[in-house]
C-alpha cells in the first residue's frame, strides 16, 4: 500500500507540473483545450493526494509499524481519533496536510470559475499549481511519509510505536492544525487571483470581488486556528497562559495581522478605487508570511515548542520564498500603471484616513513581532553573542499598539467617508467618550490603578458604545419608517448590509477578547505543597485537599488530587487536578482542573509530588479570561453575518468623481 501512496504523490507532482505547463502554453498559444486539460489535471491532483492521504490514515489507524512515520507518531494504546490526528503530528504528514488542503481549494476554485474569468484562470491555475508542486515535491521526494523502516535490506515491523506526544492528545489538537492550515493555505487563492490580475493587466478590481469571500473565510480559519491553539495552551500546558510569544505562535499571528489589514484596506479599493498597490502588497505579504510561518516551524531557525525536528527542507523553503518574493515584487513594480488610484483622499478627518491608520498600526504590530522573533538570529549573526527576546519585550511593544488599534476600532464607524466636519465629530464622539471616561473614573475611585487596564476597559466601553450607537441609529430609522419593533428593525438593518453590521459584530468580539486580555493584569497565583486534609487560601477561595489517589490504565499511570473549593463557609465545588505519566512516550503531563466563570477562572495544576502523601499544587485565579473565548463566538457570529448575502445588493456606490471634482482634478493635473 505504501508504494501506491508514494506513487500517487509522484503522479500528483507530475500532474501539477503538467497543469502549470498546460495553462501557460494553452494561454500563450491560444489552445483552449490545453487550458481545459490543465484545469482537469487539478481535479486529478486532488484525487491522487486524497488517495495518498487515505493510505496514510489507513496505515496510522491499523498500526502499520513498518512505516517510519507510523512508528514515530502512533502506538496501539492510542484511541482511533488520535491515530487519525497523527496524520499532522509529524513533519511529513503536516506537509501532506498542506498539499491536501491546497489541492482541495484548487479544485473548488477551478470548479467555481469554470465559466468565469477565462482570461485570468490559466494564470490562477498556474500560481496555485506552482505552490502545489512545491509541497508535492517535498513529500514525494524529500521527506516522504511512506518511508519504511529498514534493517539491512529487509523491511522491519517494530510491532508498536512511540505514540503521539501526550501533550497533543487533547481534543483541540485534533482540529487546531487542520483549521489553522485551512487559514494559511486559503490565502493562496486571493494571492493567485491577485497575481493573475497583474499578469493579465486587468483594468478593474475583479480579483477583489472574486476573492472577497475567500479572504473572509480564510481569515476566520486563521483566527479560529490561532485561538484553538491558545485554548489548548491554556487547558493543557499547565502554566495557565494562552499566549507565550513563542516563535511559531508569532509566525501564526503575522499573516493574521496582514490579512486583517487587507480586509480593511480592501474596502477602500471597493468603495473608492484607492490603495490598489497597497492591497497587492498586503495580499502578497499575507501569502508569503504563511509560507514563512511554515518555514519557521520546519527549519529550526528559531527555537520553539512547536518546531519539528530539524530537517533538510529549510533550504527548499528559503529558495521558494526568495524566488516567489522576487517575482511578486517585479510583477507589482512592472504593473504600477495599472494600479493607479481612481480617487484621492479629500480630508484627513475621514473614514479613509482612519483605515490608513488602522493599516499602519496592524503592520507596525506585525513588524515588531517579526523583528522581535528574528532579532536573536540577527543579533547573533552580527555580534556573535546569543540573546533572548521573550514575552516582556513583545508585551512592551504590543500592548500600546493593541490599545491604539482598539481606539481606532471605535473611531472608524464615527467618521464619515470622504470628510467629516468638526461639529459632526463632536456630536458623534460625545456619548461614547463620556461613558468611557465615566467608567475609567469609576474604576479609579474603586481602587484600580493599573494604567493599561484602565485604558483598556475605557476603550472597550468606547468601542461598545460606538457599535451600539451604529445599530441603534440605523434600527431607529427603520422603525420610524416601517413601524417594526426594535429587534426586528435591528435584524432588518443587519440584513440590509451584512458586511457592515457583521463587521461591527466582529469588532465586538475583539472587544470581548480585549476584556479577557486585560484581566491578566489582575492574575493571582500560589504554589503550595499540601497533604491530605491541608488547606490554603487564594483570593476569595479556600482550597482543601480532600484526597490524593493513584491509578493506572493501558496508556498511563496517574496521581490525582481531589480539592474542595470553599468561599467563606460554603463549599462551591470540587476540582480534580491530575498528573499523568504516559508509558509509551515516557512523558509526564498535567491534566489541569478549571472552574470557569464569567468573572474569573480558578485553575489548579497538579505540579508534582516530593512526597507520595503530598501534592504540589499550583493554583491560579485568572480574572475575565472566559471573555476571550466568548469573544471568539461573537466573532464567529459576526463572520457568519458578513458571509450572508445582503438583502439589498450593495453595489458599492463608489464615490466616483463624476462631475466638478473630476474637472477640477484634471485641471490640477
Amino acid at each position: 500500500m505504501e508504494n501506491l501512496g508514494a506513487l500517487a504523490l509522484i503522479l500528483a507532482f507530475c500532474l501539477s507540473i503538467y497543469a502549470i505547463a498546460g495553462s501557460i502554453i494553452g494561454k500563450w498559444k491560444n489552445k483552449p483545450f490545453l487550458v481545459l486539460s490543465a484545469e482537469r489535471a487539478v481535479y486529478s491532483i486532488w484525487f491522487l493526494v486524497a488517495t495518498a492521504v487515505g493510505i496514510l490514515i489507513h496505515a496510522l489507524v491499523t498500526g502499520d509499524f513498518r512505516l517510519s512515520y507510523v512508528a514515530q507518531n502512533t502506538n496501539h494504546a492510542m484511541p482511533w481519533y488520535y491515530k487519525v490526528a497523527a496524520w499532522w503530528g509529524g513533519q511529513a504528514g503536516s506537509l501532506m496536510l498542506w498539499a491536501f488542503v491546497l489541492s482541495t481549494y484548487s479544485a473548488v476554485v477551478v470548479y467555481q470559475n469554470r465559466r468565469k474569468f477565462r482570461e485570468m484562470m490559466p494564470y490562477v491555475v498556474t500560481v496555485l499549481m506552482v505552490v502545489q508542486a512545491f509541497f508535492l515535491m517535498l513529500i514525494a521526494f524529500v521527506i516522504s511519509p511512506f518511508n519504511v523502516l529498514m534493517q539491512g535490506k529487509g523491511i522491519v515491523d517494530v510491532g508498536d510505536g512511540r505514540g503521539l506526544n501526550p501533550l497533543l492528545q487533547y481534543w483541540t489538537m485534533i482540529i487546531h492544525p487542520p483549521i489553522l492550515y485551512m487559514g494559511y493555505v486559503g490565502f493562496v487563492v486571493p494571492f493567485a487571483f491577485a497575481m493573475a490580475s497583474l499578469i493579465t493587466k486587468q483594468p478593474g478590481d475583479d480579483w477583489i470581488f472574486t476573492t472577497r469571500r475567500w479572504a473572509i473565510v480564510t481569515w476566520f480559519f486563521q483566527t479560529t486556528g490561532v485561538l484553538l491553539g491558545a485554548g489548548w495552551a491554556y487547558a493543557v500546558l499547565g502554566w495557565g497562559g494562552y499566549w507565550g510569544w513563542d516563535a511559531v505562535e508569532n509566525a501564526s499571528l503575522l499573516p493574521w495581522l496582514t490579512s486583517t489589514s487587507f480586509l480593511h484596506s480592501v474596502l477602500m479599493q471597493e468603495k473608492k478605487g484607492m490603495m490598489k498597490v497597497w492591497n497587492m502588497v498586503l495580499v502578497s505579504a499575507t501569502f508569503f508570511l504563511c509560507i514563512f510561518g511554515t518555514t519557521l516551524t520546519r527549519t529550526g531557525l528559531v527555537s520553539s515548542v512547536h518546531a519539528f525536528a530539524q530537517s533538510p527542507i529549510g533550504v527548499y523553503f528559503f529558495t521558494f520564498l526568495a524566488v516567489g518574493i522576487a517575482a511578486t515584487v517585479y510583477l507589482i513594480l512592472d504593473r504600477l500603471d495599472y494600479l493607479k488610484s481612481e480617487s484621492h483622499m479629500e480630508s484627513v478627518i475621514s473614514r479613509e484616513s482612519s483605515f490608513l491608520f488602522n493599516n499602519l498600526i496592524l503592520l507596525a504590530s506585525c513588524f515588531s513581532i517579526l523583528w522581535g522573533t528574528l532579532f536573536p538570529v540577527i543579533s547573533e549573526a552580527v555580534t556573535g553573542e546569543k540573546i533572548s527576546v521573550d514575552g516582556p519585550f513583545f508585551n512592551r511593544v504590543n500592548i500600546p499598539i493593541g490599545l491604539f488599534l482598539l481606539f481606532l476600532t471605535g473611531v472608524g464607524p464615527l467618521i464619515a467617508w470622504r470628510r467629516s466636519s468638526i461639529e459632526s465629530l463632536k456630536k458623534a464622539f460625545f456619548w461614547p467618550v463620556a461613558v468611557s471616561l465615566a467608567l475609567v473614573a469609576g474604576l479609579m475611585i474603586s481602587g484600580m490603578r493599573h494604567p493599561y487596564a484602565l485604558m483598556s476597559f475605557g476603550l472597550c466601553l468606547f468601542v461598545t458604545a460606538t457599535v451600539f450607537g451604529e445599530f441603534f441609529k440605523g434600527a431607529k430609522a427603520i422603525r420610524a419608517k416601517n413601524g417594526m419593533n426594535f429587534i426586528a428593525a435591528t435584524v432588518e438593518l443587519t440584513h440590509r448590509n451584512t458586511r457592515r453590521y457583521g463587521g461591527y459584530l466582529v469588532h465586538m468580539g475583539v472587544v470581548a477578547m480585549f476584556i479577557g486580555f486585560t484581566g491578566a493584569a489582575f492574575n493571582l497565583d500560589s504554589t503550595v505543597e499540601a497533604a491530605k486534609g491541608d488547606s490554603f487560601k487564594l483570593g476569595r477561595y479556600e482550597l482543601k485537599v480532600r484526597d490524593i489517589s493513584d491509578s493506572e490504565n493501558a496508556d498511563y499511570v496517574s496521581r490525582k488530587a481531589a480539592i474542595d473549593i470553599f468561599v467563606g463557609e460554603k463549599q462551591i465545588d470540587t476540582l480534580y487536578p491530575e498528573r499523568r505519566f504516559y508509558k509509551a512516550s515516557q512523558q509526564g503531563t498535567s491534566e489541569v482542573a478549571i472552574r470557569r466563570q464569567l468573572n474569573e477562572d480558578l485553575y489548579l495544576n497538579f505540579a508534582g509530588a516530593n512526597d507520595p502523601k503530598k501534592a504540589v499544587v499550583q493554583a491560579y485565579v485568572f480574572p475575565l479570561v472566559s471573555w476571550i473565548w466568548i469573544g471568539f463566538w461573537i466573532l464567529f457570529a459576526g463572520t457568519i453575518v458578513c458571509l450572508t448575502p445582503s438583502k439589498i445588493r450593495m453595489q458599492y456606490a463608489r464615490t466616483e468623481v463624476v462631475g466638478i471634482a473630476r474637472n477640477y482634478a484634471e485641471i490640477q493635473k
Partner: protein
C-alpha cells in the same frame, strides 16, 4: 509474569518521574528577579518567574539559585550578573539596551515613525486634489447623470 514485571517496572519508573518536580514555590522576591531572566529550557518563551512547564530543567534550579543568593544577601543586580556570567547575555529575558541590541528596541519605533511619515506624505499628496469650497455650476449633462445615479441608488434601497 512478564506483563506483571513490565507493569512493575513502569510503576517504579513513573514513581521516580512523578516526584522529579521540585517544589515550584515562587516568592515575590524570586519573581522580581526571575522576571528579568529568560527561561532557557528551549521549549517555552517565558521568564524564569513565569515558566510553569512541568519538570522544567532550567527555571526550577534557577529559582532555587535566586533564592539561595537572596538568602546570602546579594542584590538583584549581582544575582543577574551571576546568571550572565554563567550563561552569557542570553540569560536575560530582554537584551540590555546597549550596542547593537539597542536596534532591537528602536526598530519598532522607527517602523511606526516611517509608517506615519508615509501616511503624512500620502495625505500631503492627496491635498492637491482637494475639491475647492466654491465650485463652478454643473452643466446639464452632469446634473442629469447625478440625478440618474441617485434615482438608481434610491430604487435599490427601496
Amino acid at each position: 509474569m512478564r506483563k506483571f514485571r513490565n507493569s512493575l517496572l513502569l510503576l517504579v519508573l513513573a514513581a521516580v518521574c512523578l516526584p522529579q518536580t521540585a517544589t515550584q514555590l515562587v516568592t515575590p522576591e524570586i519573581r522580581r528577579v526571575g522576571d528579568k531572566l529568560a527561561c532557557k529550557c528551549g521549549v517555552c518563551n517565558n521568564t524564569v518567574a513565569t515558566c510553569q512547564m512541568l519538570e522544567c530543567h532550567y527555571s526550577l534550579p534557577a529559582r532555587q539559585k535566586i533564592a539561595t543568593l537572596q538568602q546570602q544577601g546579594r542584590s538583584d543586580d549581582t544575582i543577574l550578573a551571576s546568571f550572565v556570567k554563567e550563561s552569557g547575555i542570553s540569560a536575560l529575558s530582554s537584551p540590555p539596551a546597549e550596542g547593537f541590541n539597542i536596534l532591537g528596541y528602536l526598530m519598532p519605533i522607527i517602523g511606526i515613525v516611517a509608517g506615519l511619515g508615509a501616511i503624512l506624505l500620502f495625505l500631503k499628496k492627496s491635498k492637491q486634489y482637494r475639491i475647492p469650497a466654491t465650485v463652478p455650476p454643473l452643466d446639464n449633462e452632469m446634473l442629469a447623470r447625478y440625478k440618474e445615479r441617485i434615482d438608481k441608488d434610491m430604487a435599490k434601497l427601496e
